[in-house]
Symmetry: C2
């Protein structure tokens, strides 16, 4: 009776993963990968944001994500949301900190907005690695980030009984900002409610 | 290469909608419907939360949602997230405040957590109608709500250039709390990360 909502990656991402491999040993290599996702996503009609879930120790790619708000016509389909949703499918659990799983992290080309901060909160991921900061996103592109609590990092760091989430910022920040600048220069849409 | 994530309603919901109809003229009738969703969802292995998107003026049901975290093994699958995701599929847009659409609202049996607050933020919905409060959820069930900004209602009320979202609380609050109490008494799981 009601249609289903499906988050599915475009096929170009599988091709890219085949080229780049599935192990990214350093944080810089993981960030470079999600920035490449963001850049290529613009060419495919998506927003300038890329993200992925990795196993923190091995650097194994669990699931990539890109912003698919326009292609899927869904405001949920931010890059971080897609990566987390698909990582939970790959691992077949709602809890990426389940016993038996290695610690995992979200690497994202730009600081999560209020939605993706909340999705991260319940995901079981234990580290958040960020390229561009909130002020970069808002000043360069005009995209808003929403009302994050001012102490959003501290809230993640100490939240018993939930496992803490460590935040690392400014990884390849300039390269991450360059993609945002590219999007702006192309005069592409800011897909907020009522501002289409 | 990567599996897709699908938010799909269980078939019992279509049966219920067939019985209850698709027009709910008053806020109380809308809330009674989502509370019924929450109660029936417990019997089907889901969490004690129900929500739906309605056209605010006519009361027409656009899309229902229930908590499917355990059935779908997805931490995204909160009732509000499901209702909003499916409403955007029904209306074929990422923006439920698009020109040509009537104003729509989210009616939820319990106050949205940090994740669903963020999802609401970008949805284009223009009213939020709540049964049980955050403190009801946390004290009765043990489910956490996450770090909402302390002035979360005010943030929704004034947020240019985005359309404002009006919040109405305490609609059938006691009835909404009764479902939470039922869940607790059944000793059902609190599906947080690392607390399975």
């Amino acid at each position: 009776m009601y249609p289903a909502m499906e988050l599915r990656l475009p096929t170009w991402i599988s091709d890219l993963v085949e080229t780049r491999g599935t192990v990214f040993p350093t944080l810089a290599s993981r960030m470079a990968f999600v920035i490449e996702l963001a850049r290529k996503n613009i060419d495919h009609g998506g927003g300038p944001f890329g993200a992925a879930v990795f196993e923190s120790e091995s650097g194994k790619l669990v699931a990539p994500g890109v912003n698919l708000v326009l292609p899927l016509q869904s405001s949920l389909a931010h890059a971080e949301a897609v990566a987390i949703a698909l990582a939970q499918r790959v691992c077949e659990t709602y809890d990426l900190s389940s016993p038996g799983l290695p610690p995992m992290e979200l690497v994202t080309s730009a600081q999560p907005c209020i939605q993706c901060y909340g999705i991260l909160w319940w995901s079981g991921l234990q580290r958040l690695v960020i390229g561009a900061r909130k002020e970069d996103v808002e000043q360069i592109t005009g995209f808003m980030e929403g009302p994050l609590p001012s102490d959003w990092i501290q809230h993640l760091a100490v939240r018993p009984p939930l496992p803490p989430v460590t935040v690392i910022r400014d990884v390849l920040r300039e390269e991450a900002c360059a993609v945002l600048q590219q999007y702006r220069q192309m005069d592409r849409p800011i897909y907020h409610p009522s501002s289409a």
